[in-house]
Symmetry: C2
Subunit: 409 residues, 2 copies
């Protein structure tokens, strides 16, 4: 059995997932990293995301290996009626922390909530879709409609996609949240439920929560792309003399004063601001004066190497950081190293040895689950079927021979 923390905070919770791509597998990963027993079910040979790039030299997906760590893997052919029955039995298998099913795929018949909850009335099921009406959508086509790419990058009327699949990430965290909220209710009432979540809703709710919708409806304004400036306070990016870049931010008065003092432009900038009618004594005023401020700061950075900048901006009140590539982060930032208890350098068989994170949440009275490795596809088929359904080795061999489950691995 896959090693998990013995006393992680969600030990005892069992989740069956039938996922693909990013959001749903990330929901399971989040729960697994807190100690839940997460069993990923895939078609024999893997789902559509099994070979997703980046790949290592041997053709193994570094993406899949990263996003499915600490889970158990079972291969089932759900196109076959017997396969569907088997998956249904796994999902509805008895056990106090069990009866939890997460999917972003289209399921019906034996795998629909109505059928599953007949067999296990306390079933918790989370169904992720692209849109609330069930229509397809994925991170990129959700992101394009909520306004952010047209606010990103240099001022011009073309969109800039960000590369992080942030709606998938937020949806994955929402899936984990839904499971725990429904489990809390189930412990109080004994009742399970179906929770629906749409990727577009995650993105649009965020646009609402952060005030973008209010800004459009109340002020009639769309946020405009504005380079690397922060909105509503002072922040900008600068190049150093050695070709590196840094991000500098000042929100509070204390942060602002520490910054201008360190750069040594306090008086000259104040004089210029007064001459141009800017007020630098609150964050809104500094935002309005942002191009002037950056004009004062830019030459200072251009004359210094990153190391020289670092030596001067050492007052902890100054908020700044270099831009780093992933490689630079690993080489320069101790937070991305084994100094950090969240990270361990782990050997992933067949995939490679690399720094691997567990949950960013550190519970004082629960073990941090190990970062873990992803299962080999189908690795736990026989083990899980025995544990949950009392399927013995002979019967597993029959099921594998009929290609209802994957071969024993």
């Amino acid at each position: 059995m896959t090693k998990r923390g013995n006393d992680a905070v969600l030990t005892g919770l069992r989740v069956i997932e039938f996922p693909a791509f990013i959001a749903a597998p990330l929901g399971g990963l989040t729960l697994a990293q807190l100690g839940a027993d997460v069993i990923r079910i895939d078609p024999i040979g893997g789902n559509i995301d099994i070979g997703r790039w980046p790949l290592n030299a041997g053709g193994r997906s570094l993406y899949w290996a990263s996003l499915n760590r600490g889970k158990r893997s079972v291969e089932i052919d759900v196109r076959k009626p017997e396969g569907r029955k088997l998956m249904q039995a796994l999902i509805t298998a008895p056990g106090e922390g069990g009866g939890i099913f997460v999917t972003n795929l289209s399921v019906d018949g034996e795998l629909a909530y109505e059928s599953l909850s007949k067999l296990r009335p306390d079933l918790i099921m989370v169904q992720l879709t692209g849109s609330p009406d069930g229509a397809n959508a994925l991170d990129y086509t959700v992101n394009s409609v909520v306004g952010f790419p047209l606010m990103t990058g240099e001022a011009r009327a073309v969109p800039t996609n960000h590369v992080v699949p942030m709606w998938d990430i937020a949806a994955g965290l929402n899936i984990a949240l839904a499971v725990l909220a429904a489990d809390r209710r189930r412990r109080a009432t004994g009742e399970g439920q179906l929770i629906r979540l749409a990727l577009s809703d995650v993105a649009m709710a965020t646009a609402s929560n952060l005030g973008y919708v209010a800004e459009a409806e109340v002020n009639g304004a769309n946020r405009q792309p504005d380079g690397n400036f922060l909105y509503g306070a002072y922040g900008d990016a600068f190049e150093t003399s050695d070709g590196r870049h840094v991000m500098v931010v000042a929100i509070s008065r204390r942060q602002w004063q520490a910054l201008v003092r360190a750069i040594g432009v306090e008086e000259a900038l104040a004089t210029a601001a007064t001459a141009l009618g800017y007020r630098l004594d609150d964050e809104g005023g500094r935002y309005e004066a942002r191009t002037l401020i950056s004009a004062f700061f830019r030459p200072w950075f251009a004359k210094r190497t990153l190391a020289e900048v670092e030596a001067v901006l050492k007052d902890p009140a100054i908020l700044w950081a270099p831009y780093r590539t992933t490689t630079q982060m690993l080489a320069e930032d101790k937070r991305a190293s084994e100094w950090n208890p969240m990270f361990r350098r782990v050997d992933h068989p067949g995939v490679g040895r690399f720094l691997t994170a567990t949950s960013p949440l550190d519970f004082s009275r629960a073990d941090r689950a190990a970062p873990g490795v992803a299962p080999q596809l189908g690795q736990h088929g026989a083990e899980v079927l025995r544990e949950l359904l009392d399927v013995d080795d002979a019967r597993y061999a029959e099921l594998a021979a009929s290609r209802i489950v994957g071969p024993r691995r």
Copy 2:
């Protein structure tokens, strides 16, 4: 008392928050939208984020009004010893779903976990910091170090910040998750705990979960900026003849075939691909052929208006969407309207009337909490002190006169 769903999934949970900016208030908002009683404590007159842009014409923060909906508000001067004692008493007040405290601010003395947990041993406290060593960091200075801005935008060696505070968003969701995971454990054991979370850990764990760290350590490769192309499969952005832009994605074979058939370049593209040695029959091959594919697609979009594109790409297997500003989203996308049960157009007193979201999670056996409005600052001071600490009106007036709490509002 603020109206909440009568039977939302987290009804009965009470969270005291002492937050600022985005991540911590979003953690509280997430819980409030699922029915928790979230009480936000601020210094008298508001915390540093009270006037954060965007503002409406009357100077009220649309950001604050959006991010603090459905919460109750209490003003306390925590620089005064009596204020700290009062806040301590609120946090540790009895009640089954209470004893939960969330903050991203630096707290010590009476407000440290050690002191609070002496008074209420089952206390759950979530402490968000910038870095795991407690050093300051915020979304922009965390984002700059994890590699993403140097992978965003056109191919060039300068960083492009995305505008969405995605690490704050992910941290806020992690806070809500931490509360529910610790509450689950508390219900089983009676024990509370301190949960530490660092913003940089949220970003770096994501770089690990999505395979970026593996790619750097195993393949020695940093993902390069690549315009609006998707990575590892085919996806790109195109301009239409009426100056709009669309994002088009094809991951599965079915999506790809539906797309090339609709655009009518199936054969010509196949011939060109063969001539150039590209394989179009899997997602990796299409990724390698991406500039060729886009060269075939671009003229087709350039000759058509958005409406014409929409008329042709109506096969639900085709994944595409227009780019929209926030205003266009509200005008064109029914998912961002009251058609969607997640959204209601709500009157926010003093702020404006605007479309407002509740949780994207839709529980079949629990009410969806109303989208809600943000409290007036200090609106619930007298009410909360009476409810939790039996402070009567005369005593509240004394506390307000000594400026230990805000004036009665």
